[in-house]
């Protein structure tokens, strides 16, 4: 039985409507599957040459692995974005609430106006993407072939095997192809302002000057140590509307393939495609700043013999900005847009493996939450978090799935016991954190401590072998303040009780190591060093006047910590180790060095030299 072209179109698009209906029923509550979204990057027409150069940098910028990058020729939107409302200055605190409300309202109006303006002008770009997606030829014919290739690449092992076992395997792949069309995203960037670091410093100094006049304190200019660029930008993420009504409408009016031979009918369809208004909905918008800078001290580039640092030109620095802009968009989108979150069920429990890998752009230590599907009292499926996983071994699955794709290994880092089939979903973290705690048994690096940390693999987002060794590695900076050194004697029996304050600054490298199945407990070896100081202003000098007496020195330390996760964000830790002060501390009265090398220190000052065994306990927060 031969079908006419109209019948074929009808069959394809009717089956898509049925597939749409099936998938919307199945996944209306909680998304449990990942279909590779596609992203088309576009820009608001640049207002300056520098901005145009930043946009040019996107042409060679790779997109994260989990997305299909759909580039277009006409990627500039010729529209003008009105200036974003600024937060009003609040002279009168009583009017603050009203001012904030007014600001929020004006921001919402601005958002709506911008969104309307962009979605009105994005349609031609949508048409180009759609044409590419369906391999539209110069004579107007379209086909599903290219999209089916994408569907094959996007399909999981289960989907591939299911299609193989099915009598109607084409239906399976059509369903995936349709899901891919539904996940067509369009990002519009708008750089609101671009400044050189000189302008940035000028702005900071202007604010500091104004503040110094208000506070009647002397103005101290900001040290100008960097050169480069700072941009303030917005991003708008739009999603193509591809619902049943659109599928039907497009199928009837604008779909054309070789089976339509009647010239009049073809001309009608070609015109319909050219005039077709693709609809978009705003999925997310936001704004941020991005910097590309380097030291402006020429000596830095001359003196580095071991690691030669190249000084980049200002134009070269401009090309580094697109990567930061894209990172912000992908990160924020990944948190807010369900389609951006890669997900898959746990494939094996011991060790935990999940069928995600290089195809999805996994990087070492990438964070995932694990959810259990639960039916609530109303019969709705909701997801409940059961644990946290991080990537520990990445499988190369960059191939068309046939049923035997390798699975990546994951390490559980907190939560309950996980089973096969529980949903693993990306919830990337910022990669930084801080901790607060208290240290004992060393008065000079102990006391109240604060520490900031950055997760090294998060900076590189790498899947290569080198990155494997960076797993769980943190770079920390810390400071401590000991308030308990009041009324203390430097030596055992000198009779002078003085009030000292002890401050230390340091840096360290630490590594999280998990050793239990659920990963609620972790070990954290750490090694570092820093500078400690102690001082008093109560010391009586030779003229019987109170002068400043201070000591400082360098220390190296190492410790082993034990942590317990309360939540993925908060953990409690205790750590103990050694702290070795290098040599004798340098004592100074005012600016004059004095010799304390033969002094026998009191018990409070005992740890100012030699080795101590401090212990710390505190809370650690990670974001």
């Amino acid at each position: 039985m031969k079908h006419s072209s109209k019948q074929i179109n009808k069959i394809i698009f009717t089956s898509l409507v049925i597939i749409n209906l099936f998938y919307s029923v199945t996944f209306s509550q909680v998304q449990t599957k990942f279909f590779r979204p596609s992203i088309t990057t576009t820009f608001i027409k640049p207002a300056s040459n520098e901005i145009a150069k930043v946009y040019e940098g996107f042409a060679t910028l790779p997109m994260e692995g989990r997305f299909d990058n759909r580039s277009v020729n006409s990627n500039m939107l010729n529209i003008t974005i009105p200036p974003r409302p600024e937060m009003p200055k609040m002279e009168n605190p009583l009017g603050a609430k009203r001012a904030i409300e007014d600001y929020k309202r004006s921001l919402k109006d601005w958002d709506n106006a911008v969104s309307k303006s962009i979605s009105g002008s994005i349609s031609p770009i949508g048409k180009e993407v759609f044409g590419n997606m369906f391999s539209r030829t110069s004579d107007g014919n379209m086909s599903w072939d290219k999209l089916m290739e994408a569907a094959n690449y996007s399909a999981t092992d289960n989907q591939a095997l299911s299609a193989k076992e099915s009598k109607n395997s084409a239906n399976e792949m059509e369903a995936i192809a349709n899901e891919l069309v539904k996940r067509s995203y369009y990002v519009v960037y708008n750089i609101k302002s671009i400044k050189t670091y000189e302008q940035v410093y000028n702005d900071i100094d202007a604010s500091l000057k104004a503040l110094s006049i208000k506070t009647k304190k002397p103005f101290k200019p900001t040290p100008r140590t960097q050169e480069g660029w700072q941009i303030d930008f917005n991003y708008f993420i739009y999603k193509l509307v591809w619902d049943d009504a659109t599928v039907n409408d497009f199928g009837d009016k604008a779909w054309l393939d070789a089976s339509t031979t009647d010239p009049a009918e073809r001309a009608k369809k070609i015109t319909a495609f050219e005039n077709y208004e693709f609809k978009f909905e705003l999925a997310l918008s936001g704004g941020s700043t991005a910097n590309a800078s380097q030291s402006n001290n020429p000596e830095v580039y001359k003196n580095s013999k071991l690691f030669k640092i190249e000084r980049k030109s200002m134009d070269q620095l401009l090309t580094e900005l697109p990567s930061s802009m894209q990172d912000v968009m992908v990160f924020k989108g990944g948190r807010e847009i369900e389609d951006f979150k890669m997900r898959a069920p746990i494939f094996q429990e011991k060790p935990i493996t999940v069928k995600l890998g290089t195809k999805e752009g996994l990087y070492y230590d990438e964070r995932f939450f694990v959810y259990e599907m639960e039916q609530d009292k109303e019969g709705k499926t909701v997801k409940k978090r059961r644990g946290v996983l991080r990537t520990s071994k990445i499988a190369d699955n960059s191939m068309i799935a046939t049923g035997t794709s390798p699975a990546s290994k994951f390490r559980q880092q907190g939560g309950k016991k996980l089973y096969q089939g529980t949903l693993v979903e990306l919830y990337e973290d910022y990669g930084y954190g801080f901790s607060i705690g208290y240290g004992l048994l060393d008065n000079f690096i102990g006391g109240a401590t604060v520490s900031a940390e950055v997760r090294i693999p998060r900076l590189f987002k790498g899947s290569g072998k080198l990155n494997k060794y960076l797993r769980g590695l943190y770079l920390n900076v810390n400071a401590s303040y000991n308030p308990l050194m009041r009324g203390k004697e430097i030596t055992e029996d000198d009779g002078y009780k003085l009030n000292f304050q002890c401050i230390s600054y340091g840096g360290s490298l630490s590594r999280e190591t998990y050793f239990t199945r659920k990963g609620n407990l972790y070990l954290m070896p750490e090694i570092g060093g820093g500078l400690f100081t102690t001082s008093t202003e109560d010391y009586t000098g030779s003229n019987d006047e109170e002068v400043t007496l201070a000591a400082s020195g360098i220390y190296v330390n190492g410790s082993l910590g034990l942590g317990y996760h309360f939540t993925p964000m908060i953990s409690f830790f205790v750590k103990g180790g050694f702290c070795m002060k290098l040599g004798d501390p340098t004592w100074k009265v005012e600016d004059d060095e004095i010799d304390f090398s033969n002094v026998k220190y009191s018990k409070d000052f005992k740890t100012i030299k030699g080795i101590s065994i401090p212990v710390f306990a505190g809370l650690r927060f990670r974001f």
Binding site: T32, D157, N158, S162, P345, M373, Q375, T381, G421
Partner: protein, 169 residues
């Protein structure tokens, strides 16, 4: 040495009894035949892809019992059509067959029994995230299985459990 032997034997006993408890639990759940069957697709050459939803307090137990449940469903309950995929009536229309031939079916559905010949896990063996549902205090697990309906029918006909179409009514 005697003490060590005693500890070792006690540990073995505890491990064995824990495993047999889990087995008993699984069997109890199966004996109650609490499951739901839905057709997924029509497969090749007389096979059917079905999703069987089994219930158990332990997720792993529900997965283990899915195969038995699916074969039980195909023989005694049938699967109703879904969308464009046609259904599959029960292989027997005798509602008392299971009781009448209890001995046969006890053997048939025993662990590692003959039922295993006609069922295999579809896909890569993983459970889809949406098919692992906690309902109250127990789990409802959906496993997609490929059932060789033709083979099962022929086998039951050969053993005289069901009548063949050619044997008349």
């Amino acid at each position: 040495m005697k003490k060590l032997n005693f500890i070792f034997i006690t540990l073995l006993f505890v491990a064995f009894s824990a495993s047999s408890q889990s087995r008993k639990k699984a069997d109890k759940d199966t004996e109650e035949w609490r499951y739901e069957l839905e057709v997924v697709q029509q497969g090749h050459e007389g096979s059917y892809l079905v999703k069987v939803w089994s219930y158990s307090k332990k997720a792993n137990v529900a997965i283990e019992q899915a195969k038995k449940n699916a074969i039980h469903g195909i023989i005694f309950r049938g699967v109703s059509a879904s969308g464009r995929v046609p259904g599959q009536p029960a292989l027997t229309n005798n509602p008392n067959l299971e009781m009448e031939k209890q001995e046969f079916f006890d053997d048939f559905f025993a662990d590692g029994g003959k039922y295993m010949k006609f069922v295999q896990v579809s896909g890569d063996g993983s459970v889809a995230a949406e098919d692992r549902l906690k309902v109250g205090k127990e789990y409802k697990i959906g496993v997609v299985l490929s059932i060789n309906v033709e083979g099962l029918r022929n086998d039951l006909q050969a053993t005289g459990m069901i009548k063949s179409l050619s044997s008349g009514f």
